[in-house]
């Protein structure tokens, strides 16, 4: 974590993510992990994803950076937004400005819509065991465990999040059903085929190696089990396109630079990975229009008295991050950034 890169390499290398995309009021731009993520994802040709790892210690640096970020900011997010650390799902073009509770409901709706899209809702009796990959403070796990009466284990890189998630489970009398551990989504501490439902809600963005991430999701899925990935992507490339347009990449790079993101991939890249692993019933959708009200809402909460005080308490890094939020909204408006869902079923 002590190595730093010369400024010129800040542009060329996507750096590891230290901040959460979806909680701009909590964005912490840490200068220290400028020991950048050097695991780069390049779309070598349309539909194929190549991964190069320049130095494995940088992967550890990324993990530490993510863990530290969430250790520092989860409490603040929970205080303002509650225990769901993901976007709300809204009707497109809804002009009504929602109350705080309206946004909470939208976050619940995101879970429900994702389950429905994956075809899980009709088969809920089959869902006995669930893994929540990148579980945050366990909002999804507790919700799904309650809904299906299923057992759920969640994994996160952040010890603070795992502890908080366990405490919340105990407070909700769910300790026998849900538990949370510190573990790496790329090296899950579970046997093959363990879970009827593999859930990844807005955690894919953190994964430096998308292929490995998807392989692990598939490995731990039970035969006949379903996998749900809800994640930020860049737009799909068109026929003949090798890469995003330079101006598009520049926008993402500026976001990457501030938020320390590993390189993004497209929804199609996920679909191709799943196809290559012979998954069935692969579906995907672009829900960008359904999440559009979320970022402005987060900005609004950041600009409330409570939000501003919290930001000031968190320091310059949070403030800088918050000031970069408009780039995210710009990315959406220009069709570069997409909010995608990809689901599939593991063959029997």
């Amino acid at each position: 974590m002590k190595a730093t890169l010369a400024p010129s390499s800040l542009i060329s290398l996507p750096r590891h993510k230290v901040s959460s995309l979806r909680s701009p009021s909590l964005l912490i731009q840490s200068q220290r992990p400028s020991s950048a993520l050097m695991t780069t994802m390049k779309t070598a040709s349309r539909g194929s994803v190549a991964v190069t790892a320049a130095a494995t210690s940088s992967v550890e640096a990324l993990r530490e950076g993510i863990a530290e970020f969430y250790n520092e900011t989860s409490g603040l997010w929970e205080e303002i937004w509650g225990d769901h650390m993901h976007h709300g799902f809204y009707d497109p073009d809804s002009s009504v400005q929602l109350s705080d509770s309206g946004h909470r409901e939208a976050q619940i709706r995101m879970i429900e819509e994702s389950l429905r899209f994956a075809g899980v809702t009709e088969e809920e009796k089959k869902i006995k065991r669930v893994v929540d990959v990148g579980c945050g403070i366990g909002g999804s796990s507790r919700y799904i465990a309650s809904k299906f009466g299923a057992e759920c284990v969640g994994i996160t890189l952040s010890p603070v999040q795992a502890k908080r998630a366990n405490d919340l489970a105990a407070a909700q009398s769910l300790s026998h059903k849900v538990s949370f551990q510190v573990a790496d989504a790329l090296e899950q501490p579970f046997e093959d085929g363990m879970f009827d439902l593999v859930w990844s809600m807005e955690s894919g963005e953190h994964m430096p190696d998308k292929a490995k991430f998807v392989k692990e999701l598939v490995r731990v899925a039970a035969p006949g089990g379903r996998i749900i990935i809800v994640t930020w992507c860049h737009r799909n490339l068109s026929q003949g396109e090798e890469a995003l347009q330079p101006w598009e990449q520049n926008l993402l790079d500026r976001i990457c630079k501030t938020f320390y993101l590993p390189a993004w991939c497209s929804t199609s890249d996920y679909v191709n990975l799943l196809q290559s692993l012979s998954l069935q019933d692969i579906k995907c959708a672009d829900w960008s229009e359904n999440v559009a009200p979320f970022w402005p809402a987060v900005i609004r909460t950041a600009l409330t008295w409570k939000g501003l005080v919290s930001l000031l308490r968190s320091g310059m890094k949070s403030i800088k991050g918050a000031l970069t939020m408009p780039l995210m909204i710009e990315g959406y408006k220009k069709g570069i950034i997409k909010f995608g869902i990809i689901t599939c079923q593991k063959p029997l």
Partner: protein
Amino acid sequence: MRLIVHNMLTCNIKGVVNKFPLRIEAEKVVIKKEVDFNTDFLRHMLAKIEWKALVDGARSMGYTELPDHAPEAEESYSFLKKFHHALLELHLEEGSLVCQETGRKFPVEKGVPNMLLHEDEV
């Protein structure tokens, strides 16, 4: 960490064959009575639990009341009480989970197992 969770965790170090169960080295064990006694739930769990891992885990945490084998026929009330206690009330607050093959220790801190691998283990 409760034993219900321990019964699911494996060592994920590359190349390890004997991944499960992880041996428990207990430093601080706490009894947490946060879960209601529910016979239906316990019978459901009994069918899924790897029994020897549970017994050994419980012993490591200082509880020796569990029989070596789960009952074949109808479980008695007293057995279910012991099972409930071992599965859901023994809580490893501080200690380690040890890979039987490599000896690698995964720390448990504030009740949370840390299963992160080092670079040379993946």
